[in-house]
Amino acid sequence: MSGSRFPAITTWRVIVAVIFGAGAYAAYARFALGFQRSTNLVDAQPWGLWVGLGTLCGVGISAGGFAIAAAVYLLGFERYRQIVRTAVLLSFLGYLTVVVGMMYELGLPWRIWHPIVMWNRHSILFEVSWCVMLYTTVLALEFSPMLVERIPWRRLRELYLHWHHEILIGLVLVGALLSSLHQSFLGGLYLLAKGKVDPLWYSQYLPTMFYLSAVPAGLAATIMVVYLCTRSKRLWVDVGILTEMSQVIAPLLYVYALFRGIDLYTHGGAAYLFLWREETLLFWLEVALFVVVPIVLLSQRRIRTNPQYLYWTCATVVAGFMTNRLNVSVTAFQTSSGFYYVPKWTEFALTLATVTAAGVAFYYAVTYLEILPRNPPAKQWLMEKAAA
């Protein structure tokens, strides 16, 4: 299965080892030396890369799971059933990275359970914490059959899968709601910082904007992951599905762009669009990567139908999405705080190590579990799809 068949894998293993080594040192720095020695966070920028990249992007990129699951189980788009496991696995691992990230992001991580018993229903973060807890549980349950079907005891396996099937629709429905609320609430966190968040990004509709941008980003990430699986693990998937998904992403991006544009205009952020500031540059980078380039590329049939081109287009969407989240969480605070935050290398290392760990887990899951179809359903059918 592994190693010997792909000699290149050793290079990857070296890279992964280096990342884990750096991450291990960064974890040591965080827990043995403290925030001051391991981060560049200050009171003017109390949330940095770990929140902006780890939490905001981690959750956003995991939006594909609920979208695909709802499409298959609730709306009956049967063709997507072949990638629903990939999407759920991606979301599950994405949420796990967020939870793991919390362990080094929080100042007192051993109290992470406090929100379960100490309630403040006026706090958006309280709602976020509950959504993360509940939705991670839902994702774990949605993912569980992939492990359970490997249990050698038939009775137990059948019993579990039977009951899982009974509750699956409920899980997917609750998951879709929790995830939708949660995606928007992450934007809602910044509502309270009115006056601190740059007008290019502040809006009372931040929650809506976070939701509208997370869905296309999540779908794009799912396409990327499916493509990588089929390429490196010789798994099979109907290429037509990816094309179809990209045809969903494009209109979603249109809707987002339209909404964002109108909002900038009505909130007065439009006056800042062409000011000579670093914020302006990063704003346009975000718009270019997340909206303009993908919309232009996805309008090309040649790109929609070619998995490799599609992969890179989706990579642009995800990069643009990440730029947006980092802009909201870091760039937007620069002027008001008067502090120029550049993350310390240990911050990068710890986030990178967490994401890499999820990547490795994904690799082994795809290798040893039934995530994507292993055998081509019908070669000729695939060829047809690729050619069409």
């Binding site: 992470i112 100490m118 609320l181 966190l189």
Partner: protein
């Protein structure tokens, strides 16, 4: 909130002796050396702006952003006026620091078990009927304490009677009103007071939170309705024999 206490800082009277800083540090058992900015070991400081001395401290908002932000309710607005912090609840998320429109809370970044530090208007002293240490220490009554009504009345009187004052009591509008007020003869923008939205900050998130039941109800019904259609379609296909039912048994025997 008739018993609610407030502090008035008259910037025209402050002579910059830093007795308030020292008293604060003494009462809270903090290292005594003077600091230029608020820090975990300096809960109130005198900042120099031109030839004026501006005291900085927690504004003790009427409806504090930090208290609405705190997911475990560690920060609370008390009946008495001060906004208190219960370190035993805090999980260290630092959302209060993000939320505070006055940039007051400080985090113990250098510690391995870090907490949030901010002025709590000497809540423990005020409960016992004592004035906040900083006010008590002020030799020229630049800071005075009283009920919120008394203090506001006094501030209004001074601003109205003496034309040297800027015609604004800082803290009446900012963040929807605070329990610490400043009056000055120099425009506040020149004294390092950052512009703060003139509204109760928690209102900003209340709308989003208020939408939750609606979203859950409408979204839930919509998805359930769509599922009903899907399910019905499947049933028809099953009945017509165009589709096989899903089974979880390896062989035909057993549950289905």
């Amino acid at each position: 909130m008739g018993t609610s206490r407030a502090i008035l800082v008259d910037i025209t009277k402050c002579i910059g002796c830093r007795s308030c800083e020292q008293a604060c540090k003494q009462v809270h058992g903090l290292p005594m050396q003077s600091e230029a900015k608020l820090s975990p070991t300096a809960l109130t400081v005198i900042e120099e702006h031109g030839d004026r001395f501006v005291r900085r401290m927690c504004m003790s908002c009427q409806d504090p952003a930090c208290a609405s932000a705190c997911l475990v309710g560690a920060l609370k607005k008390t009946e008495l006026g001060p906004v208190t912090y219960d370190g035993s609840k805090c999980i260290g998320c630092r959302y209060c620091i993000v939320a505070c429109p006055f940039n007051v809370p400080r985090y113990e970044w250098s510690k391995l078990v870090p907490f949030v530090k901010k002025c709590d208007m000497c809540y423990d002293r005020q409960v016992k009927g004592q004035p906040p240490a900083c006010v008590e220490a002020c030799p020229v009554q630049a800071s005075i304490v009283g009920t919120r009504e008394e203090i506001l009345e006094e501030a209004q009187k001074r601003v109205l009677l003496d034309p040297k004052y800027v015609r604004h009591i800082y803290g009446t509008e900012e963040a929807g009103g605070t329990s610490v007020f400043f009056i000055s003869d120099v425009p506040f923008q020149k004294l390092g007071f950052t512009p703060v939205p003139a509204q109760q900050m928690p209102v900003l998130t209340a709308t989003a939170l208020g939408d939750v039941p609606t979203v859950a109800l409408v979204g839930g019904s919509l998805l359930a309705g769509l599922y009903w259609i899907t399910n019905r379609r499947n049933q028809v296909l099953l009945a017509e024999g165009k589709k096989q039912p899903i089974r979880f048994t390896d062989k035909t025997k057993g549950k289905s």
